[in-house]
Amino acid sequence: MAEVTIRDIVKRYGEVEIIHGVNVDIRDGEFVVLVGPSGCGKSTLLRMIAGLEEISGGEMRIGGRIVNTVPPKDRDIAMVFQSYALYPHKTVAENMGFSLKIKGASKAEIDAKVRQAASVLDLEKLLDRYPRQLSGGQRQRVAMGRAIVRDPQVFLFDEPLSNLDAKLRVAMRVEIKELHQRLKTTTIYVTHDQIEAMTMADKIVVMKDGYVEQIGAPLELYDKPNNVFVAGFIGSPSMNFIQGRIRSEGGAQRFVSDHGTVLPVRPLPVEDGHPVIYGVRPEHIALGAEGVTVRVAVVEPTGAETQLFSRAGEDVIDALLRDRVDVRAGDTVHFVIDPGRVHIFDAQTKRRLT
């Protein structure tokens, strides 16, 4: 087990710089998720930690040791690939024991460790099978088993659940989390799925276009997103954003959208007429007798929740309600917004104002 320190890491392909000086500190035993849209550099960063990509600038430390030029085989890490990367010509047991065999471990030791990992992952009956004889979920387990057998300093996961169906994905998510709680090995996990990030991480690193947008605990990011990007990326359904200005009248402030919709805000240290982006999560909107008047365009009941896609004039505001409500498309209703749960971002810098 080890901490991982990423200092001013830069990645260039020729002239093109795709990661621009990233800093992340990962504590020993922490479960860190790198999340962001495709092309944000999260996989490249992971591959640099693994040693599969060269580091163009900055410093990378694993367990205090600078590993910039250390080849992957000497970094003492284990990695689970999106494609699982199983050796097609080796059985499950051989796949799992390969790293130990390379290290020169005895047959008895390999066998014992493989069996132990197999029992943890419920793979005992599959040990003599070849990868092509396994289902996607089983292959995924073998890939994890191969990582566990190593007992490495750091686990790296590169979108390991992306090729599984939705149900299996949720099950494996829980398993990986449990595994981490049991083994307490430092884990770095890459995903584009913000729900995976929220549910699994001790700490989330949100990336975009080769920059780190925000680092924090899942609920920190949810409650206090630094900027419009993080606010929109974290949380599902996505946060409502409305362009407009802050108006002060007689000491009271309120938000007026470019289309004239008036919405409540907390007191803000900005002057009258300051252009802002108003953000409110759909789940923080309630129905009431009075409030913002909206016309419901589409109603999506899912049983546990009801999502309303609605318009206040020209402004789009969606709401997610816990209860079943008797609202139909075309109805006019009133949305109540708690100003304490509203996020205000500067329209120019896109950064959080409060």
């Binding site: 693994a50 040693g51 085989k73 990695m79 690939f81 050796y87 010509h89 290290k103 092509r132």
Partner: protein, 292 residues
Amino acid sequence: MGSNRTGWLLLTPTLVILGVFGILPFIYVLWVAFHQWNAFGANPYMIYNGADNFRRLVFDTEFLESIWFTFQFGFFAVVSEIVLGYFLAQFLMRDFPGKAVFRTLHTLPLIVAPIVVGSVWRLMMTPSIGIIPYFLDAWFGYQLNIGSNAGAAFVVTVIMDIWHWTPLVTLTLLAAIVALPKDPFEQAQIDGANRWQIFWHITLPMIRPAILATVFIRLMDALRTVDEIWMLTGGGPGSATRYIGLHIWKVVFPKTDYGYGSAISVIVLYLTLVLCWLLYVGLVAPRNGRRT
């Protein structure tokens, strides 16, 4: 029913061509193999002689020697071609200036007719006019004469075959290597394997089917090579490079011993099949996971 008939209809041209040019001649050779027949001799008719031809070749030292030379030739040529072809394929996986030109140039031998290859090599090898004996003499003081040195003649036939057919091996292995997934190799690096271990444990097993297919193709080809050798050495000196294809040709045409020549052909086909079957049983079947 309808689709069945369409299927047979579509297969007919292939079956006809295969039948006329493959199966009928083969049956004819089998038929001739059980006869004594010398069409230009005193008695130009076929005379049935049972298994006499086959009995004869068991004690025919010329034939046995020829078989032995042929296997040596096949072994050295194919092994060298596979090793060399693999390295060339790996070389072509890298980027270097002039790669496309090199790749094209290096496949040129493949499109040259064997008889031309034989002629050119003969020209290059002939003492006093050939470029290779000239330089061997000038640089190393070695007198190369494939007309008198049996060992040298054998080596030169092997080198000619390597020159002619390594590009084929390179291309098939290159196709296999290009098609390999990238991830298992990265995984192997992370698993702690060095280059040699990755080659031995990952690359080799993963391209094994391609290697075996290439070995089969090349071995069958090498065992029946005639024209290049005929042109280069004529089977000599003595019978040092009289490989089995050439041997059959000499029995059938100059000697016009059709029956005996056919019998040798049948036995050579049988031996080739046995060899491939042994290779298959020894190398392919036990590692094939589908069987478990």
